[in-house]
Symmetry: C2
Subunit: 185 residues, 2 copies
DNA sequence: CCACAAAAAGAACCATGATTCTGCTTATGA
DNA sequence: TCATAAGCAGAATCATGGTTCTTTTTGTGG
């Protein structure tokens, strides 16, 4: 069969990546084998290697997926007509946490301490999220608190830093709290 | 040679555990081999297994060591005659962060998402640190801010939670910032 | 509907690395 | 000081798991 249509090819890639995320979520980045992933996604090892150069490549894709999803969820708030203030913003973010993804997120933190490629993904996503928080808080300061735009931007930066920090800590807590969730092994 | 004297035996154990922490710090929990640790501590594989049941056991010991050291550092502040307030407390804690240990700390977070034994160590140490923060802040509220002891204790709890969260986030940042620190491999 | 090159399956390969085993070595208690 | 049982080194073992290869099966463009 000549090269798969782009749509189909992308479908396969996400099918694999999502299965990988599920595996990572329960067994960790290093302790999930390719065999685990084949079992989870219903494809064979050879097939996975047709879509991803190697396991490290797949891990990168999974990390991007998880982190990007969290960043995306945040994007919606910034554009809202009635921007939430810091407390409201934080509690909404916390409410949106998915335990399985939180686990993989925290795993990527651990991985990024020794893996430059993952590290880059993590800091990039973190910076992006913080910037979105800042924009959101700037909008709130201007629209709700009636600050001057220039001053609002100034004040929003440290607030964003703080909200981000508290959110990340909460992410850690949900990763730690969530049940062991054993697989049949 | 009959059983080593207890002091000597403990010496060996810490010699190994500290070498392990250095290795973990640069290569991560899973990617450091026993061979790496033998090279770092100057002992042989067989010798390591005479002191630790297996690698998992060694990882637990290393995790305890790193987390306990951070908790200990905190203990001193609580007993100070002029207890620091929340801002001062936080900046002292941040100033005391050692990048190498921060990396291992964050690695243990990742590990604890899938490893119950490590998870228990992490939540135990976290709870312990939070309790110490609370005591410290209670002392501050009473001695410096002149609150009633009962009320102070009440107020200190959420403050401690917050300081802990901000500290953990900062720990993550120093783990991410610290240089790649490559080994000769 | 066809032909074919790519995709999928799954066995085979191979490297890595944890653990164990076999003798030397040496610290310890008498 | 000596006998000895534990410590220790280092090779051998053995399992795991990533990657590759071969064969079979399709989806796709013509």
């Amino acid at each position: 069969m000549p090269r798969l249509t782009d749509a189909r090819k992308e479908l396969r890639r996400t099918q694999i990546a999502e299965a990988a995320v599920r595996c990572f979520s329960r067994n960790g980045l290093e302790r999930t084998s390719i065999a685990d992933i084949t079992a989870e996604c219903g494809l064979s090892a050879g097939s996975i290697y047709a879509h991803y150069r190697n396991k490290a490549d797949l891990v990168r894709a999974a990390a991007r997926e998880v982190l990007a999803k969290r960043a995306d969820a945040l994007g919606e708030y910034a554009a809202a007509d009635a921007p939430p203030g810091p407390d409201e913003l934080l509690s909404r973010l916390i409410a949106a946490i998915d335990p399985a993804e939180a686990r993989v997120g925290v795993q990527t933190w651990g991985e990024s301490t020794t893996n430059p490629a993952i590290r880059d993904i993590v800091v990039d996503m973190t910076d992006r999220m913080r910037a979105m928080l800042r924009d959101c808080l700037t909008a709130w300061l201007v629209k709700v608190e009636h600050h001057e735009p220039a001053e609002a931007r100034e004040r929003a930066t440290p607030m964003a830093h703080r909200v981000m920090a508290l959110y990340q800590a909460e992410l850690l807590y949900s990763a730690l709290e969530s049940p062991p969730e054993e697989t049949a092994s």
